[in-house]
């Protein structure tokens, strides 16, 4: 009995293998026609004659950065919805998006990246979360694929890797903006910095913030919390005991909600400051609930491109699943906008490279270096010698507790 069940199980697994891995030729000749069963997520088979440009969306859907990853993906998917085709070298191409969940994990990330590469994508977008991007960058480089980081702000993503680019600003810049905000605008002498132990993003941004804040004459007290911490009340007490004028907490949005809640309970009036990751409906909710003053830097401030905002919201609200991925509200996060721009800049790159399907990866990379594209939402994108976008503006926004909404505070330039 048992043996038979076991054999059945094994057979089922083998059949799965067969289904997922059709005898694919080394070079896929007619992409749309024999696209693997596990693949065509978005496109209808109707216009099957058109060659395909496949964009690999390397984003977390689960794990610590799951929420952010989903929001960022929404921007790209929306862009694909708005502009599903592109003309490259005189040939119309259908653009298809391939998604893989990297689980916010540096362990599972590379395998997920390899999976994406093996699905025959032509360019990679992502990932939300610098650590996973760094961990997986070699996989893309080894495959000779260009990757464009959308919101991974850690400098090490592109450093020493000619295949990785990014469209967002970097942590040194963000840290400077936040530090001068803390010092000059909020007049804080002491900053309490709370970071997640062992997290590249958290440690990096804190590092740049500290550097700048100290050079402005302030004192920094930094503490780390281990992952999975639920109880932040002790840390909030610490901040108050330390006499901090500002709490800087560059963490994931998940931790942010708990930190804000603890701050609210502790009854502190110290403003909380954070980077791009806090630009999330979760943070907004928590801040409104607990009445704490929260300020964040972001890539894009809602209202910057009103007509795009409206179109996106309409699209978002049309599908409850999409709305759920945005955290249940139609507030636009900065990285959603970046996801949109990254898609658009990708099409621009392929157009400038000018080689139609099956594309020339070297030409694509060359074209990427020469990008000068005005992103429809977040502005001009040009890459410097590291492959980082030259960005000189960060938006600062704050939570308006009464109205329960983000409020534009300032556009910081350096």
């Amino acid at each position: 009995m048992k043996k038979k069940m076991f054999i059945a199980l094994t057979l089922a697994l083998l059949m799965t293998l067969a289904a997922c891995a059709p005898a694919a030729p080394a070079t896929p000749a007619a992409p749309a026609a024999d696209a693997p069963a596990a693949g065509d997520a978005a496109a209808p088979a109707a216009d099957g004659d058109m060659p395909e440009l496949v964009i690999g969306l390397f984003q977390p859907a689960t794990g610590a950065n799951g929420a952010g990853g989903r929001q960022e993906s929404l921007g790209t998917i929306f862009a694909n919805y708005r502009q599903p085709t592109v003309e490259i070298g005189g040939v119309m191409h259908r653009v298809r998006i391939e998604q893989v969940d990297n689980q916010s994990s540096t362990t599972h990330g590379p395998a997920a990246a390899a999976e994406l590469v093996a699905r025959g994508v032509h360019i990679i977008l992502g990932s939300y979360g610098s650590a996973v991007s760094i961990a997986s960058s070699d996989v893309f480089a080894d495959a000779g694929l260009t990757a464009i980081g959308v919101s991974c702000t850690n400098p090490n993503v592109t450093r020493g890797n000619d295949f990785y680019f990014r469209v967002c600003f970097l942590d040194p810049f963000q840290g400077q903006v936040l530090a001068s905000l803390a010092s000059n605008t909020l007049n804080a002498d002491t900053a309490y910095v709370l970071t997640l132990l062992g997290d590249d993003y958290s440690q990096g941004l804190a590092h740049f913030f500290t550097e700048q804040f100290q050079s402005l004459g302030g004192t920094v007290i930094q503490e780390n919390f281990p992952e999975g911490t639920s109880d932040f009340s002790g840390f909030m007490t610490n901040a108050m005991n330390a006499g901090a004028g500002v709490i800087f907490a560059p963490t994931s949005a998940e931790a942010a909600a708990l930190i804000i809640d603890s701050a609210g309970v502790a009854g502190t009036d110290i403003p909380l400051l954070a980077g791009d990751t806090w630009d999330s409906p979760q943070v907004l909710d928590a801040a409104v609930r607990s009445g704490v003053s929260v300020m964040v830097t972001t890539f894009y401030q809602e209202g910057g491109a009103p007509e795009w905002d409206a179109a996106f919201k309409e699209w978002l609200n049309a599908n409850p699943a999409q709305l759920a991925n945005n955290g249940g509200s139609d507030v636009i996060a900065g990285f959603t906008a970046m996801g949109y721009d990254a898609y658009m800049v990708t099409l621009d790159i392929f157009q400038r490279a000018g080689v139609p399907y099956p594309f020339d990866q070297d030409a694509i990379r060359a074209a990427t270096w020469e990008t000068s594209f005005y992103g429809p939402v977040a502005g001009l994108i040009e890459f410097d010698e590291h492959g980082d976008a030259r960005r000189d503006t960060a938006f600062v926004k704050t939570v308006n507790v009464e109205e329960g909404a983000w409020e534009f505070y300032a556009a910081q330039r350096l």
């Binding site: 048992k2 043996k3 038979k4 069940m5 076991f6 199980l9 697994l13 059949m15 799965t16 293998l17 289904a19 997922c20 891995a21 059709p22 694919a24 080394a26 693997p36 069963a37 596990a38 693949g39 997520a41 859907a61 689960t62 998604q99 893989v100 969940d101 994990s105 540096t106 362990t107 590379p110 395998a111 390899a114 999976e115 590469v117 093996a118 699905r119 025959g120 650590a131 760094i134 961990a135 070699d138 996989v139 080894d142 495959a143 000779g144 694929l145 090490n156 450093r159 020493g160 132990l197 062992g198 997290d199 590249d200 440690q203 990096g204 590092h207 780390n224 281990p226 992952e227 699943a321």
Partner: protein
């Protein structure tokens, strides 16, 4: 030398074919091929196999229910990364500890400069072995208090030690040594394992990782079939009787613990090569549980089982069942039941792991002996031959599989 039995020689043949295949396949499959997942899974699968076998040595063969796997893997991976990272990369990796990093030697780099390509490989090997040794040394210290405890307390104490190890490695005060939990990267990469002859590069990544794992597994196999292996099994079967037969419990437990940890360290180092990044945050208890479930899947006390279990685990979770997450699975996603489209609503992120854990629960509950029980490959080869022999006879027996 004794003459090899047919079962053994066929098993060896199977292994040789496997290794030749890894080499041949890698030359023909480009990273952008769909089938490249086969190679990626083989790489990760071999490393997982080693890690599972090492755990089996402890949990299955010696009967010590230890849950410190993730912690020891972390030590191995960290040690490897620290001793193989090129010096030039360190100031970038240790950014937050601006140039105050302590370990300033990279074996692959030193030997690579001295001897060229082969030197680099030797350097990597040295780092790998060092990773194993450091892990074993830590295991020795952990073993001192822990191995005197009763079975379930041992489990929880080793689990605790894994967390303590992680906390220490992530301690800010040790930052200049360990980078305080910030991911280590830019050490040797898998591509370094490729060999270039006359401008032509031969992909050997899969082969090298599989081969190194296989060598380690083979050593463990030799160990468990040796006199010491029998002593370990005696301890598993009955501690009091084992002691009465003159087996020093503590010494043998400590031996098994350290040897197992040595290979866990080596496995951690290989995993570091495979992943390219060592992030201590990932080495949590959940990781230990995964390996435990692999061992159970394959059969506690079977090396073959652990290998098969690891391969199945990796292939299924990384490849075959991924469709369950992304909304396309065997065409089932087009089915709509009660107005719910399976593809849109059921096959979403996380479903794969649910299916997976249900399968594992079924094995734990209904196939307690796992896939292979405590039998090894030659046994199955012999069984298969018997079966074929019976089939080829003029009057085949019906229902022979139930024998």
């Amino acid at each position: 030398m004794k003459k090899l039995s047919v079962g053994n020689s066929i098993s060896i043949l199977v292994l040789i074919i496997f290794f030749v295949l890894t080499i041949v396949l890698e030359q023909f499959i480009a990273p952008t091929d769909r089938m490249n997942m086969l190679l990626v899974c083989l790489r990760q699968g071999s490393i997982f196999a080693l890690l599972a076998v090492a755990m089996n040595l402890l949990n299955g063969f010696t009967g010590l229910f230890s849950l410190g796997h993730a912690g020891f893997m972390l030590i191995g991976a960290t040690t490897y990364a620290l001793f193989s990272m090129p010096l030039a990369e360190r100031s970038i990796v240790f950014t937050w500890f601006s140039d105050s990093y302590v370990i300033r030697i990279s074996f692959p780099e030193v030997l690579g400069n001295l001897l060229g390509g082969p030197g680099m490989i030797i350097g990597m090997l040295i780092s790998i072995i060092l990773a194993g040794l450091v892990t074993a040394a830590f295991a020795f210290l952990v073993g001192l208090p822990v191995l005197r405890m009763r079975s379930d307390y041992l489990a929880i104490a080793t689990l605790g030690f894994a967390e303590i190890i992680r906390a220490i490695i992530m301690w800010q005060g040790l930052g200049p040594v360990t980078n305080a939990g910030n991911p280590l990267r830019s050490f040797t990469r898998t591509a370094d394992l490729n060999v270039t002859i006359g401008g032509q590069t031969f992909g050997l990544i899969t082969f090298t990782l599989a081969f190194l794992s296989a060598v380690c597994i083979f050593i463990i196999f030799l160990l468990v079939t040796s006199s010491y292996g029998r002593a370990f099994k005696a301890i598993r079967e009955d501690e009091i009787a084992a002691e009465a037969m003159g087996i020093n419990l503590f010494k043998h437990k400590q031996l098994s613990f350290c040897i197992s940890s040595f290979f866990v360290g080596v496995g951690g180092a290989l995993l570091a090569i495979f992943m390219g990044t060592v992030a201590p945050l990932q080495f949590r208890a959940a990781m230990t549980y995964e390996f435990l479930l692999i061992v159970v899947l394959g059969g506690i006390g079977s090396i073959t089982g652990s290998i098969v279990g690891a391969m199945l685990f990796v292939f299924a979770s990384m490849w075959w069942l991924r469709g369950l997450d992304s909304g396309t699975f065997l065409g089932l996603d087009r089915i709509t039941i009660f107005g719910v489209n399976l593809g849109e609503r059921v096959f979403v992120s996380g479903f794969r792991m649910v299916v997976f854990s249900v399968i594992i629960m079924c094995i734990v509950l209904f196939f307690r002996r796992g896939l292979c029980g405590d039998k090894e490959l030659p046994y199955y080869v012999n069984k298969l031959r018997e079966l074929i022999a019976r089939k080829s006879k003029p009057k085949p027996e019906a229902g022979g599989a139930d024998a």
